[in-house]
């Protein structure tokens, strides 16, 4: 009994530490993604970007955080008060939850202990991520609706129909990966890519998944929910202070998690040719995975500052009439490939 208690206490401490570290890393990455976004945007537009706060403007995210916290926290008079307050919290909560099933590395040996670098190795890991992606829409919908503002409502309705439409193509392109690996666990999917990355077998699936991730994250060219030239600020028009900060922050967290999931599913997760994820006491795995993730964050920003926004009907046409048929075709091709060539 005591042994069991000790084991579970150690287990709880291990998981709690991992969750806390993961939480801080996610927040840090999200904060510096805003800095990266502004610097990259500046580079693309031949400007300097943030440069005054600290060397090269490196303290800009902290200055922004202080600004967000100290601004007036405004609640519109005619809003649905509780839902209005709930929405940003729900949005960032769902965004942060997704990192629980991502295997960040093999095992980390630190202080004579072995740390399993995955909070929960559930056997349905990838479905869990899809489920959270489908829940992400609530924060936007509730926020937009409860603000009692027509522009916010437009933004919310656009966002939700866009996310529902692109979830289908996303799920269908995932099925091909699940067929290849025969497992829904992210750990197993990564372990099978130690030799060859999935992107080699699934180039079309990767393109589809990348496009759908852009749409799910509400990133340009799919940022219908907040396109400022049409809808002022979209679903968060009426938000101010840290509630607005939560919405903006959660979008960067979503982007980070999406990029990590893409790296796990198509680019071998913590494996890289010539590098062993067990080096540096197991720290090499997270370094490889984070490097891949940062590369995809850069790709997301690159796309945002290169492509113009879609018109709304074009977005729906792309989702329903191109991506979904292509995803079904990809699924059939994968099935045929497995049938005729084995795995």
């Amino acid at each position: 009994m005591t042994a069991l208690l000790l084991f579970s206490l150690g287990f709880i401490i291990e998981k709690a530490t991992l969750i806390l570290v993961l939480f801080l890393v996610t927040l840090g990455v999200a904060a510096y993604a805003t800095y990266g976004e502004r610097k990259i945007a500046a580079f693309f537009q031949d400007r300097l970007g943030p440069s005054n706060a600290g060397p090269w403007g490196l303290l800009q995210p902290i200055a922004d955080g202080v600004k967000m916290f100290t601004k007036e926290d405004f609640v519109p008079n005619q809003s649905e008060r509780w839902i209005y307050i709930l929405a940003p919290g729900a949005f960032i909560f769902v965004a942060l939850m997704a990192s629980a099933v991502i295997p960040w590395g093999t095992t980390l040996t630190l202080g004579g202990l072995n740390w399993n670098l995955q909070v929960a190795d559930v056997n349905i890991g990838i479905l869990y991520v899809v489920g959270l992606a489908s829940l992400g829409v609530y924060g936007i919908m509730l926020g937009g609706w409860s603000s009692n503002n027509k522009f916010s409502l437009y933004g919310a309705i656009r966002a939700s129909s866009q996310m529902i439409s692109y979830e289908l193509a996303m799920g269908l392109s995932l099925i091909a990966i699940v067929m290849l690996s025969g497992s829904l666990s992210l750990r197993t999917i990564i372990e099978q890519q130690s030799g060859m990355w999935n992107v080699v077998y699934q180039p079309l699936g990767f393109i589809l998944f990348l496009t759908c991730s852009l749409a799910e994250c509400n990133r340009a060219p799919f940022d219908m929910a907040e396109c400022e030239t049409e809808l002022i600020g979209g679903y968060h028009t009426e938000y101010s202070s840290m509630k607005l900060g939560f919405f903006l922050f959660a979008e960067y967290i979503n982007m980070f998690i999406s990029c990590t999931v893409i790296s796990c599913l198509y680019f071998g997760g913590y494996y890289f040719p010539g590098l062993d994820p067990n080096w540096l006491g197991g720290l090499m795995g997270p370094i490889i995975l984070l490097s891949k993730s940062f590369f995809f964050i850069f790709v997301f920003m690159w796309i945002r500052w290169t492509l113009p926004r879609f018109r709304y009907d074009q977005l729906m046409h792309l989702g329903w009439k191109s991506l979904i048929p292509l995803a079904i075709l990809n699924m059939l091709l994968t099935g045929a490939g497995i049938l005729f060539f084995g795995k």
């Binding site: 479905l127 489920g131 829409v137 529902i164």
Partner: protein
């Protein structure tokens, strides 16, 4: 007893209920069922509910108010239904408590095995039914059908 007359609040509480049901599935070691439940009900169907409610903008002001006599008669009728149900179920057949079966039965591998071997015909028929429903919905939704 209706706690909330606001339809959007009711939708949110229903989503909360779905999460509770998903929690029951997880406790039964059926993670696949739990997560599919969340994806389908909380992630898709309730989003559409919310969507419609937001577009219609239903408020408690627009809801027709029932008169007191209607409320009393509804209370009596539902109370009598409750009494009848309790009377009918009391002294009915006792369901045997299932013994400790295979705890792994809800895992996704086993579920897939069962669905594609023992229950393949009902599974396929359900699939065809869904397809028919989808085609029917698209057909009904189309404005002009060229005969």
């Amino acid at each position: 007893m209706v706690f909330s007359r606001n339809p959007v609040h009711s939708v949110l509480l229903l989503i909360f209920t779905f999460f509770c049901i998903a929690g029951q599935y997880v406790l039964l070691n059926a993670q696949f069922l739990a997560v599919v439940h969340i994806i389908v009900y909380a992630g898709a169907i309730m989003v559409l509910f919310l969507f419609v409610l937001m577009l219609l903008n239903l408020n408690k002001d627009t809801e027709p108010q029932k008169s007191t006599i209607w409320r009393i008669s509804a209370g009596i009728a539902s109370g009598m239904l409750l009494v009848t149900l309790v009377g009918a179920l009391r002294g009915g057949v006792q369901m045997p408590v299932p013994g400790s079966g295979n705890a792994e039965v809800g895992l996704v591998e086993n579920l897939g095995q069962v669905l594609f071997t023992d229950f393949v015909v009902p599974f396929e028929i359900a699939g065809i039914l869904f397809l028919a429903a989808m085609v029917g919905a698209v057909l009904v939704g189309k404005r002009d059908i060229k005969a």
